[in-house]
Amino acid sequence: MRFLKSLAGLSLSAALLSSSAFAGEIILNSDQSDPAPRQAMEELIADFQAKHPDITVKWNNFDHEGYKSAIRNFLTADAPDVAAWYAGNRMEPFVKAGLFEDVSDVWEANGLNDELKSAAASMTIDGKKWGVPYTYYQWGIYYRKDIFAEQGITPPKTWDELLAACAKLKEAGISPFTIGTKALWPTGGWFDYLDLRVNGYEFHMDLTSGKVPYTDPRVKAVFEKWAELVEPGYFVENHAAIDWQDAIPHLVQGKAAMYLMGNFAVAAMKDGGLKEDQIGFLQFPQINPDLPMAEEAPTDTFHIPSGAKNKEDAKVFLAYLASPEAQSKMNKTLGQLPVNSKSETPEDPFLDAGFKMLSNAYALAQFYDRDAPAAMAKAGMEGFQEFMVKPDKVDDILARLDKVRERAYK
């Protein structure tokens, strides 16, 4: 027993040692492991420390995938002062478990309720704000301008125009859409947009928060629209074997003409050899003309864990992160859109198009795997993937999804 106690004591003191922060130091955990985000973060920290010389930031940068499980450990065991995460339902488990600090006062004191208005809804749970958003990006259809011109296709604005464009491309031996569904999530973008266009934002939110069964005929209607693309073979073959990056060569080689993706794909397309004037961006076409257009714009955020040691300085950091100058500079490096409406608009043509689209958007969805809880998202996207391979099994898939829904939201 003695031995066990001393062992416990030892591990405790080790835990204390590793997290003992000096006054004026904040520990920041995040997952900016790619080059651009990493650089943006380094600049942000340097600028912050220049403005607040009395505070130093100790930054632990995690690998992107590893972070998702690491955060659960460090929030309970050894909480940093600031942690990166995502908006919407993705942060709900941590909020409900009391692991995130209410930061409504930071919003109040810095006028963020006004400046960050577009993301306010997705940062609110139980009427309180649980973090500060700093960047988001648009989703939409990226297409090969030159191929469209060759085939005499004008960018489609409605569903019928899209179907006509697809038929024309298919006839010319070009796959209309490329996609890689191995990692599942790219299917979520399709489902989200089809649901937003067929049933609207409110219905989509009800569905992702578990209030509507998947066996509802309105959900079935979404899949009927989807089948109009799947059944004629408008997606590249073998998409279940490849990742989203592997889908880009199809576009670069001209074997496919369109790609529904987030704006981060543009960098990969340019790396693949496409020139800027070969790439076009178009908003996901209208399906139900009576519905206002809502868009998909996943938001990245920073939070203060409730176990943080230095909450005062952490709040100063969040306030700085929310400021227009910090967000302008950061998003310029990131190649994404600032959330703060007083920030400078980006010069990049795709970001500019996205910025205009999102400013006029009726509402913003986060993304299927952020709006729906984890267990539902996983089963859902697996179902979407199966549907994209075997569209005739739609009823089985929806029945299965509803079984998961009943359990996941209880």
Partner: protein
Amino acid sequence: MPLAPARPQTFWSRHKRSLTPWLFLAPGLVMFLLYVLIPIVQSVWISFHDWDGLGEKVWIGIENYVELLDDDTFYVSLKNNVLWLLLYLLAIPGGLAVALFLNQTVFGIRLYKSLFFFPFVISQVVVGLMFTWFYAPDFGLFSALIEWLTGEQVAILADERFVTYGIIVAGLWPQTAYCMILYLTGLNNINPEQVEAARMDGAKGLKLLWHVILPQLAPASFIALVVTVIGSLRSFDLVSIMTAGGPYGSSQVLSYFMYEQALSEYGFRMGYGAAIAVVLFLIMMVFITVFIVRMLSQERNG
């Protein structure tokens, strides 16, 4: 004869003989208790709860198991585990064949042996990645071959009909090498006199192999069977690297299903994951018990 002065008998001196073995065993036993037995009990305990790993555990009795019986993925995993178990056994005759082939003295045989052993040395992750590229549509060697033969492309890892077989083939590669090494050591211990005598009696070829060589290789075969069966039930790394259980869960196996439910990005259902772990443990227990009983009876006879 003078009596020796009666020394006070201490506890230690009285029980020295019976205590010493336990003292030597103690470090191992403590480790075994701490890292094997207690976690098993904890897993069983957790499997009766609804727990996300963060909040309070809620006792729900056998509900996790009831749900498991109603879960399609569970049956897919179970079916795939059986497939793994059966097809993985091919590694044993495969390993034997390679070992017999390599059991000769020609120039550079050590190099050939190490080349055949190579896949077992590299990490399973690397094996998985290599086979993923091998199967990859458009640029993979295998899919190019299939396209050349049949004129049609087959994406092995995206097709629910082939995906599990594709992963098992990848797993067989290192496992065959493992069995080969076991048999090579076994072949070194073959009694040459018996082989000689059998040859004198006119036995050769398969007859010689079956009646003279194989019985002498029985210990190697037994070990090969044990590691192969257990290896097949633990088939986690390859599934994780090559498909992550996809497409749409059709290459799931119990160990990956457990990981996905309990620990992956979309999981954190600790109770449900623990229930899967318990089922997997029970299945393994069946085999382990059979092996141990056999081993004990052999020791008693031997």
